[in-house]
Symmetry: none
Subunit: 412 residues, 2 copies
């Protein structure tokens, strides 16, 4: 029988609306992948009495409790003490965590105030989850048939600790293996993809196929349950092939992180180099490429030409092009790509210029108009995009996605 | 006495992690402004038994219940029926809502399927909240001293309905106002700030001061309750001044969005310009500046010099500096900043070079070593940072924060 889970987030900042409960979303998605049913999310403040009440209720209705938040060094971080009281465990100093903490502060050259030592206390006889993004470790234990897992509140700490610690703990609770492949799609929306696949999706039970909208793109997750990873894979392979037969044109990768990773891998495998020239994205394309460690093997660098002066002086876009066609134009995008390619000596160069909003330009171009250029050994191609009057963030991300998609289609 | 509220969100998509509970954040923030204490957030799926249980519990512990979701036309929209059962009210057709719905569909030229009529049913004798962004109206009623408000799930519908309907309903319940100021801090951690302020914080009741860790920085929120906004402000001003007296050195702004906004505002107010040269951050600093619309008034552009070739050819960092000191060094950071300042003609230039990891370099420099340079009319300053072996993302964000903090300290 499937395990049933409740997520309890602890933090007055959630109840004040300072932040959204992103941990609940992150963990719910991951628990669903593990085949664990999440039945409730609960949020309480930094208030031991209400946390205690929430824990007492949760233990009566689920067998997996995940808490987020309240593990830090300050006086309002009370999750561990309260859980220990409810479940009758001692909160004890873990010497190896104290050593780790002291080394961490020494490494950063910062004094460790004594309240930080609280973070080396965890329930006795627990499984420790190390925090690779912060100073508060997490942990798990089982009492009376209820598994209690404690994770830190900041989403980047919570997510990483789940992947590096909690996931294996939870996976070991089940004898069933759940495996999945994720097809990453760019250029078609969730509802279009679902319409194309609808008849197949509704009739599948194991494996299942589910579309998800994920920020500015879409993905399809094919999931199988079986007694072993190998058996799951045997179920998955034909299902993935069937889905690819329908939507493969828009699939840029299977089980890949994102478009930029696919681009870098393609470039590296052929010993090719890339440079960028960015106007409306203002560094976002270069930033996304360099989010990936090892990017320097293919990415040489780029220019953020946020003003016409930089386009002209650094990228060598001629003043006559800027005067005649304007900064947001096909000829300017082309000249930017060719300019940065010449400047850096890269094999390929991506350039973007457009209007991310909220305002249009003085030539009457609308918000969302963007030109994306790809220059390479066999010439330069330019794509005109009209993303419409969306948020600045959306237009910038879609511009970067389009640039990466042009490059991966060229190289694939 | 202040009213106490619980938010109950209804929707299996929340428990699957398909979406985050943004309604809870939106409503919590607005309730705090009205002086209503939010004590719990609860999420259940489209499951009448669990919703019923959540409602029965909520009515024992709060006097204001706000539900979000489950008001739509499909079979799994069960919020109204369940609430009516729990609170002993009839769910009745509101003829004026039926007319409104039929007119709405006619206006859109779409046939109205009969399941849509469900949306014209609301508890008898309730206050109706009209939906200006969708087809599901909301409502409020009071039973046994408990106020129950139902709002739709999609955040843009929920937020608008709160502002246009629910807010006035709730405001009429209370005579108290809550106001706050947020001090944004860079360069000191949450625990250090708390240690500095601890004695003051624990003794304050109105206003209160609370520290929060927020991604890679820290903030202090000073909050007051009073009978009017003016009276709240009179309580806040001396408390903010007292806190600033202790930690003001690290406060980069009050009620501001982030460091880069402060930098751009300082530059614009003095008609100064900025350019950037980025190695380890790979475009992140430029990206963060250009996240802000209107950045081009001060930010000219920059160079992402991810390889020594670009540092040398584009930024004019001499080959002898690169050979003698290496890419990650004080002289290289200095030459990058001066190089991009000369290239773009900006008043100020920020440059960063360092090791974001996961690997060190072949000179034995450790991960987390970063040099940040600020070149300006009166010379160039370089700061050496050691962020330790943290994630690539953390080191890159902290590098950008340090660069912005150097600039704002120079200009402030």
């Amino acid at each position: 029988m499937a395990h049933r889970a409740e997520l309890i987030a602890v933090g007055t900042e959630l109840l004040l609306g300072n932040i959204a409960n992103l941990d609940a979303q992150i963990l719910s998605e991951k628990l669903a992948e593990l085949g664990i049913d999440v039945l409730y999310h609960t949020v309480v403040g930094d208030n031991p009495a209400r946390l205690r009440q929430a824990l007492e209720l949760a233990r009566t209705r689920v067998d997996v409790i995940l808490t987020t938040g309240g593990l830090g060094p300050t006086y309002d971080d009370l999750t561990k003490q309260t859980i220990c009281e409810v479940f009758g465990r001692k909160n004890v100093l873990h010497p190896e965590l104290e050593s780790w903490l002291r080394a961490l502060f020494a490494d950063r050259g910062r004094p460790m105030t004594e309240n930080n030592l609280q973070q080396a206390y965890l329930p006795e006889n627990c499984t420790v989850f190390h925090n690779q993004n912060g100073t508060a470790p997490g942990c798990a234990f089982c009492e009376d048939g209820v598994h209690v897992l404690m994770l830190p509140g900041p989403p980047h700490e919570c997510e990483l600790m789940f992947r590096t610690g909690a996931e294996a703990y939870l996976r070991a609770l089940s004898h069933e293996v759940i495996a999945s492949h994720t097809l990453r799609i760019y250029g078609k929306g969730e509802s279009e993809i679902e319409a194309l696949l609808h008849d197949r999706i509704v009739n599948m039970t194991n494996p299942t196929v589910a579309p998800y909208a994920k920020s500015d793109e879409c993905m399809l997750r094919v999931t199988a349950k079986a007694s072993s990873p190998e058996a799951a894979e045997q179920l998955l392979a034909p299902a993935v092939a069937e889905v690819m037969g329908v939507v493969g044109e828009w699939v840029y990768g299977v089980d890949v992180d994102n478009l930029e990773t696919v681009c870098l891998d393609l470039l590296k495998s052929r010993s090719l180099t890339l440079s960028t020239a960015e106007s409306c994205t203002g560094g976002l394309i270069a930033k996304r490429l360099t989010d990936i460690s090892g990017a320097s093997a293919a990415f040489l660098g780029g220019v953020v030409s946020y003003t016409n002066g930089v386009k002209n002086h650094v990228l060598n876009v001629s003043q006559s092009i800027l005067d005649e066609y304007g900064a947001v134009s096909e000829p300017t995008a082309r000249a930017m790509a060719e300019g940065v390619r010449a400047l850096t000596g890269s094999d390929y160069a991506l350039a973007v210029t457009g209007l991310a909003g909220p305002d249009g330009d003085d030539r009457g171009n609308p918000v969302g108009l963007v030109f994306v250029a790809l220059a390479g050994p066999d010439g330069t191609a330019v794509r005109e995009c009209r993303f419409g009057k969306r948020t600045r963030e959306h237009i910038r991300q879609q511009t970067a996605n389009t640039a990466f998609d042009m490059l991966r289609r060229k190289l694939q």
